[in-house]
């Protein structure tokens, strides 16, 4: 069971769990913003770019 869970974790999340965590936070903020009158469409693409860059920069130090 543990190996099964580990397999799916590696398959979906991969090398850097912070990417998945960052995307989860970004989805939460997007959902919150979408409930207001402020347009929310710009938030997720920017968050994706930021999360990706932070993950890449960690490798490229």
């Amino acid at each position: 069971m543990r190996r099964f869970a580990q397999f799916w974790w590696d398959f979906i999340v991969g090398d850097d769990w912070r990417v998945a965590a960052g995307i989860a936070v970004a989805f939460g903020l997007t959902a919150l913003l979408a409930t207001t009158s402020v347009p929310a469409w710009w938030l997720l693409p920017l968050a994706v770019a930021a999360v990706l860059w932070l993950s890449l920069r960690r490798v490229a130090r």
Binding site: F11, A20, T30
Partner: protein, 227 residues
């Protein structure tokens, strides 16, 4: 799929084609069964929930691909070399003990089966996510089947690993596509209305592609020395 072909070829050459092909076919049947079992189940989930879950999964999965492709393109990670993978698999297969089960060379069968199953799971995942959100899993599966036929045909023609396929360029493109669709559907699932609805999809695609290329360029400037 290119990776799976390399493994099957290595097993076929060293352990015999019967075991290698049986393993590959068995894994393909298993993957088809996974798609057939999960596909109808996904269609009963409300579309908004499906888009949120599928979008989030696609996004995290796509960012994995994109991250690796950017690191490879910028020289921070070695490019995958199908010739060396083929040589390594062949060497391991030549020294492995011969054990026959169900009339098959068990090593050749299991390595081939695992290789196709593991690599194919990525394809099954993409078929299920794209197919379910667009309401046509059979069409998505047909697209994947066409790609498999193409890769197998190329392998038969070349009679070796597809080392000249620009694998990282393909991975980069797939990563950009998965990230784009994950962002688009995920945001819709989270309650976002895109300006112009579906018309904004090319804009998201252009943004993800541009950002990725800028990252490659930025990382190249701090590139380490890699073979």
């Amino acid at each position: 799929m290119v990776e799976a072909l390399t493994i099957v070829l290595a097993m076929g050459v060293t352990r015999g084609w019967r075991a290698a092909l049986t393993g590959a076919v068995a894994a393909t049947v298993a993957l088809a069964a996974i798609i057939a079992a999960l596909g109808p189940a996904l269609t009963v989930i409300p579309i908004e929930v499906l888009r949120l879950v599928v979008g989030a999964l696609l996004l995290v999965f796509g960012l994995q691909w994109l991250r690796k492709a950017i690191l490879r393109a910028s020289g921070w990670r070695a490019l995958r070399d199908e010739d060396s993978v083929f040589a390594r698999e062949t060497a391991a297969a030549q020294t492995a003990a011969h054990e026959e089960r169900a009339g098959l060379d068990w090593y050749g069968f299991t390595v081939s089966f695992k290789g196709v199953l593991l690599e194919g799971l990525e394809v099954a995942f993409i078929v299920l996510t794209f197919g379910s959100t667009q309401g046509s899993i059979p069409l998505a599966a047909a697209g994947a089947a066409a790609a498999i036929v193409l890769v197998v045909a190329a392998g038969v023609v070349v009679r070796g690993p597809l080392s000249r396929v620009p694998e990282n360029t393909l991975a980069f493109a797939v990563g950009v596509m998965l990230t784009t669709f994950g962002t688009f559907w995920g945001a819709e699932g989270a309650g976002v209305s895109w300006p112009g609805d579906d018309a904004s999809l090319p804009g998201v695609l252009a943004f993800v592609a541009l950002v990725s290329l800028v990252f490659v360029s930025g990382l190249r400037r701090r590139r380490p020395v890699l073979a």
